[in-house]
């Protein structure tokens, strides 16, 4: 119903954004391509709350009693984002920020840049279907290798970098003509299933002297089976990316309609690991819509070893900043709404290859902002863990939480608040 005219009723089936999309499709003849991640309302970690300590348990004192966060990989890692989708300055900022915060960052489609390697103490090298810029020398320079089978924003889909972002340097790194629309393959070119993946992992280990941990990243869909197969293929670390995970560019229909939310994905991944007696032996990293220390704490409590951030890291660097609101408006958007990462005209100078725009991001300042943000997440994580009486963040467990909705209770496998009922698992 319109605020100004109560007789105007907006259709629930055809609200204005649906009408606008039909009109846009009719005008252009192409599906909507955009970046960012899923915008629809889905069950998230916000639907869970912690049961802070009280009579039955006692909490730990903030700042006084130790709550350890130390894990091998870092609790909050930076997800893979390509040079090409991001500017060289943005990649450098991510490396700097992760290094200050004592965590790892990750390359992306298109290969490793010297800026990124130089400023990242711990750098994970993504091994992607396109193999753009794939180079065994860089593989050996990496601290770990992440075999990407899928991405939460588009499980089953490949990358996309439209012509406006294929600058001479990006074209050279990817061995493609400048200015063409580049569509990365959606599956690896030299294997067809999990048995082959096991042999591929063997090859990568042989090439890198069995020194690099091997991650396998999957977009969250059939998580239980995918995690099981990844572990059986020999992964040291499994990364599960939920449907809220970001992307530089893909079809809107993909972002909003393929994959499952991060909330059930964590539980399914943990169940798979537990069934193989590999929980805490093979590390589990969860990503997709992680924004706060609360999200981190809830992911860890459900059994993840660490989380990974992408979109939130870009926002920490300055993406969506009100400082650029006028310019966002000039390109038909507004700070907080902008999602045309594929367009290459990012006012914040992050998702661009335009040298003038890219200059707007100072990598030293960007790195500092990202490190500050990761530190805040860590402090929030510790706050919640202490409130639950935990001396290590990994001591958080599902029992420390309840759900506010039946959907979240079913997905996360924790009781609905005020009951001991977990939908699908009995209880009253």
């Amino acid at each position: 119903m319109s605020k100004d005219n109560p007789t105007l009723i907006e259709s629930a089936t055809f609200p204005r954004h649906v009408i606008a999309e039909i009109q846009r499709a009719a005008k252009t003849g192409i599906y909507d391509i955009r970046g960012f991640g899923a915008k629809r309302d889905i069950p998230t970690f916000d639907d869970l709350v912690f049961l802070g300590a009280s009579t039955s348990r006692y909490p730990l004192e903030g700042y006084r009693e130790k709550c350890t966060t130390e894990v091998i990989l870092g609790n909050i890692t930076i997800a893979g984002m390509s040079f090409g989708s991001l500017s060289a300055q943005a990649k450098e900022s991510l490396g700097r920020g992760a290094t200050i915060a004592g965590t790892s960052t990750t390359t992306g489609d298109g290969g490793m840049t010297p800026e990124e390697r130089g400023h990242s103490k711990t750098l994970v090298y993504q091994y992607l279907p396109s193999r753009y810029g794939m180079n065994p020398d860089d593989l050996r320079k990496a601290d770990a290798i992440e075999i990407v089978l899928g991405q939460g924003a588009k499980p089953g889909g490949g990358g996309m970098l439209l012509g406006q972002k294929i600058s001479p340097r990006v074209a050279q790194m990817r061995n493609l003509p400048e200015g063409i629309d580049q569509r990365s393959a959606c599956r690896h070119p030299d294997w067809t299933g999990p048995d082959d993946l096991e042999i591929k992992i063997q090859e990568l280990r042989e090439i890198t002297n069995w020194e690099k941990p091997i991650y396998v990243k999957v977009g969250a869909t059939r998580v239980f089976y995918d995690v099981t197969l990844a572990v059986k293929a020999g992964a040291d670390v499994v990364v599960v990316d939920g449907m809220q995970g970001g992307t530089a560019a893909t079809q809107d229909v993909f972002i909003e309609h393929v994959g499952i939310p991060t909330l059930p994905a964590v539980r399914m991944a943990v169940e798979a690991l537990q069934e193989m007696d590999m929980h805490r032996k093979v590390q589990l990293i969860v990503s997709g819509g992680i924004r706060s220390g609360a999200d981190v704490a809830k992911a860890l409590a459900l059994g993840a070893d660490a989380v990974s951030i992408g979109t939130a890291a870009l926002i920490a660097l300055g993406d969506q900043s009100p400082e650029f609101d006028d310019e966002y408006k000039e390109i038909g958007s507004a700070a907080g709404f902008w999602d045309d990462y594929q367009a290459g005209n990012d006012p914040a100078g992050i998702t661009t290859q335009d040298p003038e725009l890219a200059k707007r991001l100072d990598p030293i300042l960007g790195g500092r902002r990202l490190a500050n943000y990761i530190n805040v997440l860590t402090l929030e994580l510790q706050t919640l863990a202490r409130a639950c009486g935990k001396s290590h963040v990994h001591n958080l467990e599902p029992e420390d939480m309840v759900a506010l909705t039946m959907e979240a209770a079913a997905m996360a496998g924790v009781p609905l608040a005020g009951t001991n009922w977990i939908p699908g698992k009995g209880g009253i």
Partner: protein, 224 residues
Amino acid sequence: MTEINLEKSTIRELNEALQAGSSGDKFSVNNTVGKHALSVGLTTKVDVEINGHVGYYCAGMNQQANIIINGNAGPGLAENMMSGQVRVTGNASQYAAATAHGGLLVIEGDSSSRCGISMKGVNIVVGGNIGHMSAFMAQSGCLVVCGDAGDALGDSIYEAKIYVRGKVKSLGTDCIEKEMRDEHKKELQQLLSQSKMSHGVEEFRRYGSARKLYNFDIDQVDDY
């Protein structure tokens, strides 16, 4: 010549020895019995002669080494090769030289489907026939086929060049026959000589990209 017998040595010991080899060192590898990931990640100009059939990813990511396989090769032969030369006297399975960036791969026999998939600068010479979807999304480099090519050759090809002596069952989307100019004849002659193939360049036809899929065009929608 250092001999490595895979009945006694492990794959790790083999690759460790080959990866530590200095330019000019010669190795012979025996009793391969189809093992995977043999002779991978080499970085120097060593000469490796492998006697027997090999499994997946033999010569993967090769840099500079000269590797001869006296036998057949499994899937992913010389995948992502950067430089050097790999020669197979028999046949090769799927995805030979997938995503390879440089060097020369010679397959004296036939090569199965997806030969040269996403190739990024490698040169491939196949003495026999190649399977379907070969040179799919091939970016650069040359694929020379002395026999016939299967279905959907060069589908979604970028700037790679394909030379075929025999019949092409069908061309993939955006792949067309192109004029064979002098520079192409010269390039092909060089590759044939390097590969020790005796066919005349006049017997070949050239195929490459029509470049109609490079940027989205609503009028090409049937090709997507």
